[in-house]
Amino acid sequence: MASNSITALFRPDEFFGEHSNEEAALGLPLGIVCIYSLLSAVAGYQMAALMAPMYDVALEGYGGVITIFGAIGGFIGGIIVWIVASVIFYLISMAFHGEGSVKKVLEAVGYGMAPLIAAAAIGIAYLVMIGDQVVAPVIHDIMDPTAVEQATELFLNQPVMADFTLLQTFLSVVFMIWAANIWYYGIRHARNLTTRDAGITVIIPVVIYLIIVIASYGVF
């Protein structure tokens, strides 16, 4: 099982080529997605816990609720990435007369999310290290959008959070490229596409995603 994952990570062409004629097995991909979702939940919880003091005055006593929502949001986000990416790849590959089933696409996308586990784990470890240095400015009036915006900017612009945001953006981009590489081979074999068609199918949504990630960091 572990060797399957490692093969998918480092020799995806060989891995998906060998399994192209087999029935889709979603067990391991689902496990990968679950691990990624759990780590996303932990990261969501961490961020919510750091930001919760901002609402101590305006939403007194709701700190616990905020952190729980942060964790739930992180977990659901991981699952959604898997499903949405699979659907997008499936729909785009339909334009190239792809032949494989949705399950095969889900399987390929699930394996491809393995590098994202590393990105999430590194982010969590880094947040643990800097957590006690993060200062959360208090929002006194949550109905005042300017005050909320200023407090959020103050929170994100403090040196430790600025470093974390940069690191998170970089990890998202780099490990997404690795994931895209796995998806490329996975989709090509799952949907029986040519090299060009598989490249277009994967590159278009991934590039759009990367542009959004980089833009949200403020590069553009």
């Binding site: 062409d13 590098p115 103050l154 040196p159 940069l166 970089f170 490229i177 690795w178 081979y185």
Partner: protein, 376 residues
């Protein structure tokens, strides 16, 4: 002839005697007034007597007099000798200045009238001397005064005498407190009546405050002095902010103190503000943390940020006000754990850790991509 002269003399004597008796019966005292109505010992006042001729014939008065007693001295008497005729139905007012002696009691100076050619009339005037003072006391005062805190002191005055006292004024006198108002005018206090005057007292030192209750009985001024000792201490009903659950952590360029401030007193602490003081230097984002009002038994979290170099302890300042706006300050010394250092502030560069992670991640991913595309 001799008998005739004797009879004539008798007739004249009889007619004159009858005339004098008639004059006394015609004159009556119709009003006696005293000012003040009741004297204090040694008070000076006036006795005013109104007489009236109630007869049909005019009466000739030769002298009007008031004779003092051993405790009532007549000190001023207008010239009432040979004052003339009082017509039928006419009245005459006579006034005398008297002074009471030092004894209490009821005394009877004697008012007398002499008629022309002969005859007189006497009338005792009751004058009461009572040394009962105005009743003055401190009815409201704080259990304990606090330096710089405004408290209320109420002076009550009552009049237990049988006559009214006028011009009642209470004047505080001290050099160790700010007392407002500087004087309270109560005015006339009728018999059995009481009144209060309230003063705001803000002590600045230990000492005594005198409240002088001045009043008039007729034209005589009297003073009763009340003494209020002021020993500043800690009042029982005050706000008492207590800082607890204190945690110190490092932040970029300094430290952060988080904790709870609770009001363990019996009064509301208003405008509670948390900050730090030298050797700490408050820094953003929480130079000052405004907690606001803290009711008794209430608490709030706070957070302050500061920079401190080579300091093991920093004073955490809790400032608050009472209902009157008096400012108080409590200081809690917070220890910075040895070994705790401010996180180095980055000046336009990434931390080495972030750079290391980025480089390593990029290398791993690049290696994985190259390896995955290697021809086999």
């Amino acid at each position: 002839m001799r008998h005739y002269l004797v009879l004539l003399a008798l007739a004249i004597a009889l007619s004159t005697g009858l005339g004098a008796t008639g004059a006394a019966s015609q004159i009556g005292v119709i009003d006696v007034s005293l000012d003040p109505k009741i004297f204090f010992p040694d008070d000076t006042g006036t006795v005013t007597i109104v007489i009236k001729n109630t007869g049909t014939d005019p009466v000739e008065l030769s002298r009007v007099n008031l004779q003092g007693t051993r405790s009532i001295y007549v000190i001023e008497s207008p010239h009432y000798t040979g004052i003339g005729r009082l017509g039928s139905g006419d009245t005459m007012t006579t006034s005398f200045t008297v002074r009471a002696g030092s004894e209490e009691g009821i005394f009877y100076p004697r008012f007398s009238l002499n008629f022309m050619p002969t005859g007189n009339m006497m009338f005792p005037v009751p004058v009461k001397v009572d040394k009962t003072q105005i009743d003055a006391g401190i009815s409201v005062r704080p259990d304990t005064f606090m330096e710089g805190r405004k408290d209320t002191v109420t002076i009550s005055v009552g009049n237990p005498r049988e006559n009214a006292l006028s011009g009642v004024t209470i004047t505080p006198s001290t050099g160790i407190a700010d007392v407002v108002p500087t004087s309270a005018f109560i005015g006339t206090l009728n018999s059995g009546q009481k009144s209060n005057a309230t003063f705001s007292v803000t002590p600045t030192a230990e000492g005594v405050i005198s409240f002088n209750v001045e009043y008039r009985n007729g034209q005589n001024r009297h003073v009763v002095s009340l003494t209020l000792p002021v020993v500043p201490g800690t009042a029982k009903r005050v706000a008492e902010p207590i800082v607890s659950n204190v945690e110190v952590s490092s932040i970029a360029g300094g430290y952060r103190i988080t904790g709870d401030v609770s009001n363990a007193g019996l009064e509301t602490a208003r405008s509670v503000v948390m900050t730090t003081r030298e050797p700490a230097e408050p820094i953003d984002p929480f130079r000052v943390y405004v907690v606001g009002a803290l009711d008794a038994d209430d608490f709030s979290s706070f957070e302050v940020t500061f920079a401190a170099q080579e300091a093991e302890k920093v004073p955490l300042v809790t400032r608050y006000r009472d209902d009157d706006g008096n400012l108080y300050e409590e200081i809690t010394h917070v220890t910075i754990q040895s070994g705790m250092m401010p996180v180095a502030e980055q000046e336009g560069g990434l931390s080495p850790l972030v750079i290391g992670i980025i480089v390593l991640s990029a290398a791993i991913v690049a290696g994985a991509l190259v390896y995955s595309r290697k021809k086999r």
